[in-house]
């Protein structure tokens, strides 16, 4: 097979690519602006510090230009699809990490040209985005780390390798065994070597330590923000979700500073009792398939603009709180210890349903039970896009657990489309109404 011959991707004329990209980009810019406007309108006393995140949320704005400039000065950009990519190693090699999963609805239709509609739309949309070169972060990536989590992600890396070098990173499906940890550690060592070879920078103990400290600081800021959501709502869920998501592409040190500044402002609001919405709004947690900016903002919008209005105070999403909740915990700063700590942080802490054990995905259950209690959750929305098999299947287990503590949960299935908003609204509002009626008593 010649190097030009594509394994999956169809040949599309440059003219069509340009036309499609311009179309989708224009629509996307409008949608991003609309989403931000709606978020501004919904939140009472919206913090001024959100302005920074509104700006960095612009997928075609300043941040891609900044990365482009860094690339021109010799930096490498490493894209990743799932959260298991060791960010600290990327940072230690002086490269830039960006997550490249797509939240565009329109590009999922383009992905249909390559894979059937039964495939998860997050995957189809990422394929479609690559077909037309839409995503600045995907385009800027010199290489992609494809973590083999669910079936969709496994094949996605294979498909994207038609365009970019792809480093596959298999994960063991059972976490708590000695051979799994050995295997995973080997993967990390291999990844370290690959990153060093690409960047030409050796990941020294000193550099790795400083990178770990950098993400530890980010986690601290991140946890401070999530802790602020435990009490009366001082920030709307969509705003917090936007802050969390921008971590996937922003400069990490700057993101940390801005998040700390936001928290400071929010703490002041708590002192002044300036709440983001009515204290009667039911407190909702979402879990399930990742929700990715900008189009896949449908459910958070329906909850927070619903009649009655709800407020998202927590999530169990790999596009949300799972991004940064767990710090890399190092005891001694030896290379060996740091590698172990990174390994544990990415593998052991993950609540992704791609894992199993003799007790099932216990870590996810414990995470959710803790959230329900500590964040005073009044209802859970279990969100699944069609084709997302692991989340769909694990629902039954999660529901049993939540039933036991009388926690209402609603299974909401949808697609990467705007057309079912009406139907979804009916269901989400009925659920919120049900929660309100229960709170009233």
């Amino acid at each position: 097979m010649s190097s030009q011959e594509k394994k999956y991707m169809p040949e599309i004329s440059q003219k069509e690519v340009d036309e499609l990209r311009n179309q989708v980009k224009t629509a996307s810019q409008r949608i991003m602006a609309e989403n931000i406007e709606k978020m501004k309108k919904t939140a009472k006393n919206r913090p001024k510090a959100m302005e920074y995140f509104d700006e960095v949320a612009d997928l075609f704005g300043k941040r891609p230009k900044e990365i482009q400039a860094a690339k021109e000065s010799g930096k490498k950009v490493i894209g990743y699809t799932c959260l298991f990519a060791p960010i600290e190693m990327i940072l230690a090699a002086d490269a830039i990490p960006v997550r490249v999963n797509s939240g565009w609805y329109d590009t999922s239709k383009l992905g249909d040209r390559v894979v059937p509609v039964e495939v998860c739309p997050v995957i189809r949309s990422t394929i479609g985005a690559k077909m037309i070169g839409l995503s600045p972060y995907l385009e800027l990536s010199d290489v992609l780390i494809s973590v083999l989590t669910c079936d969709g992600m496994t094949k996605l890396g294979e498909i994207l390798s038609d365009y970019k070098p792809v480093w596959s990173m298999p994960i063991p499906r059972v976490k708590d065994s000695a051979q799994s940890l050995r295997f995973w550690r080997e993967e990390l060592v291999t990844m370290k070597g690959q990153i060093e070879a690409l960047t030409g920078n050796k990941i020294t103990g000193k550099k790795l330590k400083s990178a770990i400290e950098q993400t530890q600081k980010a986690t601290k800021a991140f946890r401070r923000l999530q802790d602020l959501r435990k009490g009366n709502p001082v920030i709307m869920g969509r705003d917090a979700m936007l802050v969390n998501q921008t971590y996937m592409w922003d400069d990490i040190t700057r993101w940390t500073e801005k998040t700390e500044a936001l928290c400071e402002e929010l703490e002041e609001k708590v002192r002044r009792k300036e709440w983001a919405c009515s204290l009667d709004a039911p407190r909702v947690m979402v879990t399930g398939t990742p929700m990715i900016w900008p189009d896949n903002w449908k459910l958070p919008t329906l909850v927070e603009e619903g009649t009655p209005q709800g407020v998202l105070v927590a999530d169990e999403l790999c596009s949300g709180e799972r991004l940064l909740y767990d710090p890399v915990g190092v005891d001694e700063w030896s290379m060996d210890d740091m590698l172990n700590a990174i390994g544990e942080r990415y593998l052991m802490a993950s609540t992704c349903p791609c894992f199993t054990s003799k007790d099932g995905n216990e870590d996810r259950i414990n995470w959710m039970l803790n959230k329900v209690k500590e964040w005073n959750i009044q209802g859970v929305i279990y969100y699944v896009v069609r084709g997302c098999m692991s989340y769909a299947m694990e629902y039954t287990r999660i529901k049993k657990v939540l039933d036991k503590i009388s926690m209402p949960v609603y299974y909401l299935d949808t697609e990467y489309t705007r057309e079912d908003v009406g139907q979804m609204k009916t269901r989400v509002e009925a659920f919120l109404e049900m929660l309100t009626a229960r709170i009233d008593l």
Binding site: P408, T426, A430, E433, M434, R438, L441
Partner: protein, 254 residues
């Protein structure tokens, strides 16, 4: 404010005093206005006599002069428990949607499921199948009761279901058997929805499709239970909304 028809129920001192009905058509707001006028006339009341109006249904946002709204599931729960105080599983099958609601011991909605993205579990499916069989809609039920056995058809989609029916016609299956297959397929879908919620022995069936004897027979067979059906099942959603309105009116008087 249903997808096919608009229904009005007027309550006075906890009793139904009038009902009104009309096709939703292209102008549901106007149909609602007419149905309301009809009901007011039957009750010998003026619009100003209404202390509170609550709307429900797919087009509830279009209801003229509604003081409040309630979700369809909330209205089903309210009406189901009002009509049958022991009922805790309430099924509503309308023209384009089927829903099942589970209520807690206090009679409050605790959980619900809705048929997903397709009318194959709802009234429109029977209509399409009646067309394929070239029988009148109201004949489908009685016809199906004459069947001696059932032939399975695809109920995941109206379109596929219709082509399955055509296949059965070509195989020269009898019309009663095909009609029964249609109801069995619907009942299959709805009973799995109900099973997801957990079945309580007192199951109420609301919505226009509850008037279809064929569907009721199939659903009883699938659930292995008797089913509670009110006298005017198609007005149950409107009744639920009226009960909510009565509650609101009462609270505002206090």
């Amino acid at each position: 404010m249903g997808t096919q028809t608009v229904k009005v129920v007027i309550l006075k001192d906890g009793k139904v005093v009038a009902r009104g009905k009309g096709f939703s058509g292209f102008d549901p707001a106007n149909s609602a206005k007419q149905a309301m006028e009809e009901a007011l006339k039957a009750a010998k009341l003026k619009p100003s006599d209404l202390s509170h109006v609550t709307a429900t249904g797919a087009n509830m946002s279009l209801a003229p002069k509604a003081d409040s709204t309630i979700s369809m599931m909330g209205a089903d729960a309210k009406a189901g428990v009002f009509l049958f105080p022991k009922a805790r599983t309430i099924i509503d099958v309308g023209a384009e949607e089927a829903r099942a609601v589970r209520c807690d011991e206090r009679g409050l909605m605790a959980e619900f499921v809705v048929n997903e993205r397709c009318a194959a579990g709802a009234g429109a499916f029977i209509e399409a199948m009646a067309r394929a069989l070239e029988v009148k809609l109201e004949e489908m039920g009685p016809l199906s009761l004459k069947a001696e056995r059932a032939s399975p058809i695809n109920a995941s989609c109206v379109i596929f279901g219709e082509s399955d029916v055509v296949t059965l016609i070509h195989r020269q299956e009898s019309k009663p058997e095909i009609a029964r297959a249609v109801f069995d397929a619907m009942a299959d879908r709805i009973s799995s929805m109900v099973h997801r919620l957990g079945v309580n022995p007192d199951v109420a069936l609301l919505g226009g499709v509850a008037k279809d004897v064929g569907f009721v027979a199939s659903l009883k067979r699938k659930l292995g239970l008797d089913i509670l059906i009110p006298e005017f099942p198609e007005f149950a959603g409107a009744l639920g909304a009226a009960l909510i309105a009565a509650g609101k009116a009462e609270r505002s008087h206090k």
